[in-house]
């Protein structure tokens, strides 16, 4: 039955002639839909001949073509050598001993090369001085493969051949010589006998040559003080392994103080041995790495430090030094008492760039006759002379300089008065920079003599008197570059190669008949004859000193007076260098940018560090936002009329009230990848090369987003994560008291957690069973292991944004914890004393009650001067691993050798394992980080990828990864032994982190070898496992940290 009903859509339909109704009868819409508008450019659309059907055809065709093409496997080409070099076997690594000397880092290292490519830096055990690679040196291999390097010589921004450039420079030098103007060499510290010889010859060849050595971060004061006292421009060496008491006045000697390299000696006596260990008292304003390791740390303003130093001298000397507050007096009295008791076993060091302070420190050590104090064979790793630098700038501005050759330094970036320098450059006829990157200086000068990387160069070093090192190339120059020494030889008309020059120089004046090849193989050389000679000299020197002492009383007295009268400012700025960035030479190195600062745990930034009290008064804030990222306020900082705006602020526990800190090395932009242009340039505030400046600081608008990898800073009284004790308890009590095994309840009985098990135990007694030992006493938190792990295991760099989202990929992290009371012991007590929930007090009261809510609330906040502890955490390779049981595809499995295996190709990326890991050491590849231009960190170009270790997989997107306990290294060691038909020797097994650890904190080995060191370490009373009560039975164990709180 048909319906006659009519459905009306609108009343307009009542009018049959309505145009809209008519139109709607035919079309869906009354008007043309303005497709063009929302599809974009109207003209392009109408101009395009592609209609919808064509488009679908193309899509169809390309899809079909792509799937067809996928049917055929790719053809791989293999290209063998035409003539294989004798010592290269494809697949076998070669090691070469060489040395780095970039003006800031000096170290003898081993370079691992594969098929002729350097891929990793390792420590040179044969070196007696600076034989260990820090984080920056470890990362330097990536800088070799930096695609932003200068790839050839240029003049006035145009590429030029070396012949033309050489001619131009020779002409320029000759013109300068003829005009009677000065020829200036502005260089880094070389500490190289052969380079110095070349420069001497250069001086002879051109007459009026002025060689100015310039350190971006100056040790001028220490050098001047030493020169005045001992007649040589050098730095005193300190043997911390001979010290029982170390007093440091803001000397960050575990990082870069006076060239660094002191950590292994320091760590040696930091481990309790027969009831004894060194004691370290640290007075400083910033929280430094060294301060964090101290047994007692006293926060002080830099001005107060000077007064304290003067007073200490007075106390030791028996004279009375006036000035300063009573607080300082109390501290100094205590220290002086301890120093007097330690006598020759005490040593005092100072990191203030103040000549008076350095003079006094030398005097104190001499007074103490400190065994750790070595002036007979001083160090040459810093030689910069700021007076000469300033004079040079004045000369340049006055037009007295005819030619300027710059090497290894970037004054336009690192001078606080760089504007003067640039002005002066304009008045120099010939300006040449031997630059590695197209940095600020390279852009300012007329001619660029493209410099080689140290891994492409020859060289020699005398880091310490009588201790020589050789530098040899491990790869041919990747680009059309030339090292400065070769350039100098060319420019003075000497056609010898630098290699021949060094060899000749060594044969004639250093080797003394010893083998050149042996020295080159070892990378280091010191003649026994030379050492004894020095010792003979010693006696003479000492006599001379005694005679001198009388005359040197006056300068000391005046120094003391000046120090004691130091007035303190309202706010003092202490400039420092970060462990990761140093002076900023390698700012374009993504490994270092992503390296979290050991103290603040912030990567990809520098920032102002302020104390909590100052932050409150200046209204600075740090807080975590919903995604876990750390946000902070901005500050404007003014020093002597120079203002830097919008510096992010970090509230730093331990920062002395009335001081702020700011690190060098950031804020570079010239010749850098965009991602790497981070932070602000602190060198602008580095007036007169003084690392202490009076400063005014105010809050600025805006919020800064940090990339900080650690959200929680305190242990909340969980003393079993980092176990600590004092030397006194350690010596007097049973280890059950200070290193108790956690207990769990079994059948209503408290039993040790280690005795309870959900699983049946596997038999691991046969074959190898690897364990890694980490001694929290020896670990300084320096982070060399983090970068070594990066290099060995092809760990990707993810960038600031991803780090902020907690997607960092470091297989090895070094957790840093602050105590919320004055000590960690106090935290534990506070937690023990918790009484009930205390809801009332928490909500309505003052939050100071003993309830759990109030107590834990308080404990989240670090103390104003906290104790600090470092704990390297990597995959713990649990024998009963929680990750393994939850993997749905059995991608992670356990081995008999104790390693927890991760089969990447099996992983489907459920991330259950990461969720179930109590140590949070598993890392997920959220993206494809290589070959991806979104992640512009050297792994997206062929050059950068040359650093990849071919023995380790490059993981892809969607795959979980983690520390493998360097299975590629243990497998290699086993294979080598099998091939030689011998058992594996103790000490042969290594991981990247354990071999990079120069302080000896990490030891690796086979505990089934009962004679081995690791088996002994495992039986030690200090041994404990992380989160032992969970029952995971890890193969990584830690050693209880012992603090020497014994006050004399």
């Amino acid at each position: 039955m048909a319906s006659n009903k009519k459905y009306w859509k609108s009343e307009a339909e009542l009018y049959p002639n309505d145009s809209i109704v008519e139109a709607l009868k035919q079309n869906e819409f009354t008007e043309q839909i303005p497709v063009d508008e929302f599809l974009g450019d109207k003209e392009t659309l109408s101009g395009s001949s592609t209609n919808r059907r064509d488009f679908l055809k193309y899509v169809g065709f390309s899809t079909a073509a792509a799937s067809l093409a996928a049917c055929e496997g790719p053809v791989h080409k293999s290209l063998p050598y035409v003539v294989q070099p004798e010592n290269i076997i494809p697949g076998v690594a070669n090691y070469y001993a060489t040395a780095i000397a970039d003006g800031f880092d000096f170290a003898s290292v081993l370079v691992k090369t594969r098929e002729g490519r350097p891929i990793k830096i390792e420590n040179n055990d044969r070196a007696k001085v600076n034989g260990s690679a820090n984080a920056r040196v470890n990362a330097s291999v990536l800088s070799l493969y930096d695609s932003t390097r200068i790839q050839g010589p240029s003049a006035n921004d145009e590429a030029i051949s070396w012949e033309d450039l050489d001619k131009k420079i020779k002409d320029g030098l000759a013109a300068a010589k003829n005009s009677g103007k000065q020829i200036a060499l502005l260089t880094q510290t070389y500490a190289s006998p052969s380079t110095h010889k070349i420069i001497e010859e250069f001086k002879v060849a051109y007459g009026n040559v002025n060689h100015v050595v310039y350190d971006a971060i100056s040790e001028d004061a220490a050098l001047n003080a030493f020169e005045t006292a001992y007649g040589e421009r050098a730095l005193a060496d300190y043997h911390f392994d001979k010290a029982e008491l170390i007093i440091s006045f803001a000397a960050d000697f575990l990082a870069d103080w006076q060239g660094g390299g002191y950590d292994s000696g320091y760590a040696k006596v930091k481990v309790p041995h027969q009831g004894k260990m060194s004691r370290h008292i640290h007075l400083e304003s910033n929280m430094s790495l060294t301060g964090a390791n101290a047994d007692r740390r006293v926060p002080m303003k830099p001005s107060e430090l000077k007064v304290a130093l003067a007073k200490l001298y007075g106390k030791l000397n028996g004279s009375n030094v006036a000035g300063g507050s009573s607080d300082i007096d109390a501290v100094v009295a205590q220290i002086a008492k301890e120093v007097k008791k330690a006598g020759r076993k005490a040593v005092v060091v100072c990191g203030l760039n103040d000549e008076n302070a350095q003079t006094v420190v030398l005097a104190i050590n001499k007074l103490l006759q400190s065994e750790a104090f070595d002036v007979e064979s001083p160090k040459y790793v810093r030689q910069g002379n700021t007076t000469k630098v300033n004079k040079l700038i004045a000369d340049m501005k006055a037009g007295r300089v005819g030619a300027l050759l710059v090497d290894g330094v970037n004054p336009v970036y690192s001078l606080s008065n760089s504007a003067d320098f640039v002005e002066g450059l304009g008045k120099v006829a010939l300006t040449v920079s031997s630059s590695f990157n197209n940095d600020e200086t390279a852009q300012a000068v007329g001619n660029i003599a493209a410099a080689s990387h140290y891994l492409e160069s020859w060289g020699d070093l005398e880091m310490k008197k009588g201790r020589y090192s050789l530098m040899q190339p491990t790869i041919r120059e990747l680009f059309d570059t030339r090292q400065f020494q070769s350039s100098l030889l060319t420019w003075m008309g000497n056609d010898k190669t630098y290699y021949d020059y060094i060899k000749e120089n060594w044969s004639s004046s250093i080797l003394n008949g010893a083998s050149w090849n042996k020295a080159l193989q070892d990378g280091v050389f010191s003649t026994p004859a030379m050492v004894s000679e020095v010792e003979e000299n010693t006696a003479v020197v000492v006599e001379g000193d005694e005679a001198e002492e009388v005359s040197s009383v006056t300068p000391i007295a005046s120094a003391i007076r000046t120090l004691a009268n130091t007035t303190s400012g309202d706010m003092e700025l202490m400039l420092y260098s970060k462990v990761g960035m140093g002076d900023g030479k390698q700012a374009n190195n993504p490994w270092l940018q992503e390296f979290p600062d050991p103290i603040s745990r912030v990567s990809w930034d520098n920032y102002i560090t302020v104390s909590k009290a100052d932050a409150e008064s200046l209204e600075f804030e740090n807080y975590n936002v919903a995604n876990g990222g750390l946000d902070g306020s901005y500050a404007n900082v003014t020093v002597d009329g120079v203002t830097i705006n919008n510096i992010p602020v970090i509230i730093q526990p331990g920062q002395a009230k009335g001081t702020v800190g700011l690190s060098f090395g950031y804020g570079k932009s010239a010749g850098m990848k965009e991602e790497m242009q981070t932070g602000v340039n602190a060198f602008q505030l580095y007036k007169d090369f003084n690392n202490v400046q009076l400063v005014s600081i105010s809050k600025a608008e805006g919020v800064h987003e940090f990339a900080c990898v650690q959200l929680h800073n305190t242990l909340m009284g969980r003393g079993d994560i980092i176990k600590e004790t004092t030397l006194e308890i350690f010596n007097t009590k049973n280890h059950h008291d200070w290193n108790p095994v956690p207990e769990v309840s079994l059948d209503h009985q408290e039993v040790p957690a280690t005795s309870v098990d959900l699983w049946a135990e596997f038999d691991r007694s046969i074959g190898h069973h690897f364990n890694l030992s980490i001694d929290l006493n020896a670990c300084t938190g320096c982070g060399a292991c983090v970068i070594a792990c990066h290099a060995e295991n092809n760990v990707p760099v993810v960038g600031k944004e991803e780090i902020r989202r907690s997607r960092d990929m470091h297989w090895l992290r070094i957790d840093r914890y602050y105590s919320s009371e004055d000590t960690f012991e106090g935290d534990n007590e506070e937690k023990e004393n918790i009484d009930g929930l205390g809801l009332g007090n928490y909500v309505f009261g003052d939050g100071k009650g003993k309830g759990a809510l109030s107590s834990f609330g308080r404990m989240e906040e670090p103390s104003a001067n906290p104790q600090v502890a470092f704990q390297p955490v990597m995959c713990q390779h649990c024998n009963h691993a929680p990750c393994e049981t939850v993997c749905p595809v059995a991608a992670t499995a356990h081995s008999r050798q104790g390693q927890n295996h991760m089969a990447y190709n099996r992983c489907v990326g459920t991330r259950y394992c990461a969720n179930n890991c109590p140590y949070k050491v598993r890392r997920f590849n959220w993206f494809l980080y290589n070959n991806n231009d979104e992640f512009d960190y050297h792994m997206n170009n062929d050059l950068g990828k040359m650093v990849i270790n071919p023995d380790v997989n490059v993981r892809s997107r969607g795959v979980m990864e983690k520390c493998s306990m360097c299975i590629q290294m243990t497998q290699k060691t086993i294979l080598d032994a099998k091939r030689d038909g011998r058992p594996v020797k103790d000490g042969e097994f290594q991981t990247a982190c354990s071999s990079a650890c120069s302080s000896g904190a990490m030891a690796f080995g086979d505990i089934n070898d009962k004679e081995s060191k690791i088996a002994e370490l495992k039986e030690d009373d200090r041994m404990y496992h992380l989160l032992e009560h969970v029952g995971t039975k890890p193969n990584v164990f830690y050693h209880v940290k012992v603090r020497n709180t014994n006050e004399a």
Binding site: H76, P80, Y81, V82, Q84, V92, S765, H901, S964, G981
Partner: protein, 464 residues
């Protein structure tokens, strides 16, 4: 039918008998040859014995000299007469030179110095042990022998042997083709059967029609076609579909599981390098060229300087001792072909044959990689070759028979695992294994340990 079968037998008979006849003929020729050689020997009057000379030449001189071309040293064809005629130097000079060339040069001898300078100042190795007779023999060999009677017998023999071989080959071919014939006969038989059946069926129908036997029409109509019955039986349809799906899944799975497995992959290489000639005919040890297999994870493609160790002297292919086979010739593998490949090597390595020196213009050879493990699998040759003492052929197959190299093994994980389960660890004389071997054998109660028992099945041993 019978005829065909007969023919086969006949041809076989024919060929066998031909072979027998030939062999009968060839037997006396052997003895004859042996006789001629011994008979001719004393009568040879060339100042030396070229046969012994050839042997001595190959032992001592061939590394640097050839008869008809320059190598490291000059060509030696007719050297005695050449020296006598051109330089006026007698045999005594040659004796002196051979035994102590450096001395001759030092003595200021003009021609000696000339030669020395001409050949890049490389002094000839001294051969103080060669007697005058030895040198005479060698010199005799350097005189070209134009169809001397001695070689007649040998040539005959060679020809006979070759013919024999050819016959054998032909026979083989024939046997192969007879197999084809046999098969086609069978097919024919079956077709015949089908035809006969069809015809019988038709005849029967005709008989039915003609005898007009009443077939119940109703029955005829009611009979439902088989496929309809099948379609109506839902259970049967269901089962069939399941079977079909399972079957196709099986085939799809087995087809897909071979994706990415390149067993048998034999790409065309830029230089036709015959492993058969090198490893098979000439019995060169695998690790002479692939030396890094002993110490490295890579077996390594030899660099061209390794090729030149031999090919500096071997500049052309003169055929295998038993001549090119029919197969080779069919594929175009003639002596000229191989010689051309050697020239490709010279071009790549930059070897100037004329002047016997390197030009310095080299071009690496872009070999096509055959064995290609995925990046996530770690494989180390030295572990297997040096420690496990496994023959290369175990994984790479009969390389010594491969004219064109191909992937012999599937290189799948299952294949690796199987081998690890079965292969015994070579613990003998290896101090590394001493402790672990005694302990593990006690644990498993076995004397011989497999790689799997050593932990060779753990994921992380190959995947990291």
């Amino acid at each position: 039918m019978k005829q065909v079968l007969n023919r086969i037998q006949f041809s076989r008979f024919l060929s066998i008998s031909l072979l027998l006849v030939l062999q009968l003929i060839s037997l006396p020729s052997f003895s004859q040859e042996a006789e001629t050689v011994s008979a001719e020997e004393p009568t040879a009057d060339l100042g030396g014995d070229p046969v012994v000379g050839k042997q001595l030449f190959n032992q001592n001189c061939a590394a640097c000299h050839a008869l008809d071309r320059k190598m490291t040293g000059p060509a030696l064809k007719n050297v005695e007469t050449r020296l006598a005629e051109d330089e006026g130097l007698g045999k005594e000079w040659i004796y002196k030179w051979v035994r102590n060339s450096a001395g001759t040069i030092a003595s200021g001898d003009a021609y000696a110095n000339k030669i020395y300078n001409e050949y890049n100042q490389l002094p000839m190795t001294a051969f103080p042990t060669l007697s005058d007779v030895d040198i005479d023999n060698i010199l005799a060999y350097t005189v070209p022998q134009e169809a001397p009677t001695t070689s007649g017998g040998t040539a005959d023999m060679d020809a006979m042997e070759k013919m024999e071989e050819k016959m054998m080959k032909e026979m083989e071919v024939e046997i192969k083709s007879s197999r084809h014939i046999f098969l086609s006969v069978l097919v024919l038989l079956f077709m015949l059967l089908v035809v006969i059946l069809f015809m019988v069926n038709r005849t029967l129908r005709k008989i039915v029609d003609e005898s007009e036997i009443a077939v119940e029409k109703s029955m005829m109509i009611k009979r439902i076609p088989l496929w309809k019955v099948f379609v109506q039986n839902q259970f049967l349809v269901f089962c069939t579909v399941i079977m079909f799906l399972l079957g196709s899944a099986y085939f799809a799975y087995s087809w897909m599981s071979q994706i990415g497995i390149d067993q048998g992959y034999a790409p065309v290489q830029p230089i036709h390098y015959s492993h058969r000639i090198h490893a098979g005919v000439n019995k060169i040890e695998c690790q002479y060229c692939h030396s890094s297999a002993r110490v490295s994870k890579h077996s390594g493609i030899p660099s061209l300087n390794v090729c030149m160790n031999c090919h500096k002297n071997i500049n052309r292919y003169s055929g295998s001792p038993d001549g090119s086979s029919a197969d080779d010739l069919a594929n175009g593998y003639t002596n000229e072909f191989y010689t051309k490949e050697i020239k490709k090597l010279y071009k790549a390595v930059g070897w100037d044959e004329e002047n016997q020196q390197y030009t310095g213009e080299s071009q690496p050879v872009e070999w096509v990689r055959i064995h290609n493990l995925p990046d996530f699998a770690y494989f180390n040759h030295s572990q297997h070759v040096s420690v496990g003492k496994i023959e290369c052929q175990t994984c790479h197959g009969p390389v010594e028979e491969m004219e064109i190299m191909y992937q012999y093994s599937p290189l799948t994980m299952g294949w690796c695992i199987n081998c690890h389960r079965e292969t015994e660890v070579q613990v003998a004389d290896n101090a590394y294994y001493e402790k672990i071997h005694t302990e593990l054998s006690k644990k498993y109660g076995v004397e011989k340990l497999t790689a799997a028992q050593m932990g060779g099945l753990e994921c992380g041993k190959c995947h990291y």
